[in-house]
Amino acid sequence: MFKKNILILACLGLIFCPPSYAKQKEASSLEIRQMQTRTYEVKNKKELMEAIVNVLQDRDYLINESNYNLGVVSGYKESKEKVFMGQQYVRYETSVQINELGGKSYKVRTNFLKKLIDLTGTPTTKKEIKNPEEFYREFFSQLDKSLFIEKQGI
């Protein structure tokens, strides 16, 4: 009987204690900023802003706000996503901001929001972006590619 109880406890321990259940440490605001920011060296601000617009268009975003003087571009994308036992419509919203650091150096900061779209087509609940680090890394990698493509005049 005692052995059986130990065995049951061991099994439960194995089920509920894997690393996936570990409480994840929330990223500090500095860590979030680091994740969302990159520095670029380009000829001018317009080249960088055009590359950003092209990246957003590559990702099927529609631009709903832009201001060249302030260096801000905002966009959104609504699409279908597969979830367990079905699918759901989500809306990604983004704001990209460019700050001149001096010379030809520019700081690009972006943030993405994910919202669920309800049955009536209205964005409602805010959802966490899965693996945000990779999400932002992918965005900046696309921006690198876009800058290269723009330079080659493709």
């Binding site: 055009e50 092209n54 590559d58 631009i63 709903n64 832009s66 060249y68 279908k80 087509g121």
Partner: protein, 192 residues
């Protein structure tokens, strides 16, 4: 003997699933360059503004409403609301459902079924959003790129409108848009 034949048939049946006909079609991933080539076109114009004006004229012809216009970045975002009739298959589904419901309720549910059928003839509300991006390519050439998205909403009698689908537009949309742009380019060049 019969057993052997049966085993052989089972073996052939199982092996037949490996035939190329049953092969899962692998969807080729569309690269950013593939997308750009469909969405982009080059025009010979004097300036970015000229191409922007041409695009604006096409948008006006198509009854789009401008929601963002940035002359410095040469960006235009516009939205269009239209209606689209429900397909025959959808209508047939509504009628079949209504008939079955009326039959199952021995005619008592006929009124509800009638309201339901009415929905079959209510067109979908379609929202098309488009972002146009114009940039310099050479001294005489300008590049225009468009990205569009479509949202289809289904209205229901006596109930709220529900979202049916959100999708990227088909490549035909870009072809049609650029065909209109070509006409507009001709009109602009002729000063008509």
């Amino acid at each position: 003997m019969k057993k052997t034949i049966a085993k052989l048939l089972i073996f052939v049946f199982i092996v037949s699933f490996q035939a190329p006909v049953f092969a899962k079609t692998v969807k080729k991933e569309v690269t950013a360059l593939d997308k750009r080539s469909v969405q982009t076109k080059i025009y010979d114009t004097k300036s970015e503004t000229e191409l922007m004006k041409m695009a604006l004229s096409v948008l006006q012809d198509e009854e789009y409403k401008i929601i963002n216009l940035d002359n410095d970045l040469s960006l235009i975002t516009a939205v269009k609301e239209s209606t689209r009739p429900r397909s025959t298959a959808v209508k047939a589904g509504y009628y079949t459902g209504a008939l079955l419901y009326t039959g199952m309720t021995f005619g008592m549910g006929a009124i509800i079924a009638w309201v339901w059928i009415k929905d079959a003839h209510t067109p979908y509300n379609v929202e098309d959003a488009i972002t146009i991006n114009v940039s310099d390519l050479t001294d005489k050439q300008r590049k225009i790129r468009i990205v569009a998205n479509e949202k289809v909403l289904a209205p229901h009698t006596g109930d709220r409108t529900t979202l049916k689908i959100i999708t990227e537009v088909a490549p035909q949309f870009y072809q049609d848009f650029y065909a209109k742009m070509d006409k507009e380019s001709f009109i602009t060049k002729q000063n008509l």
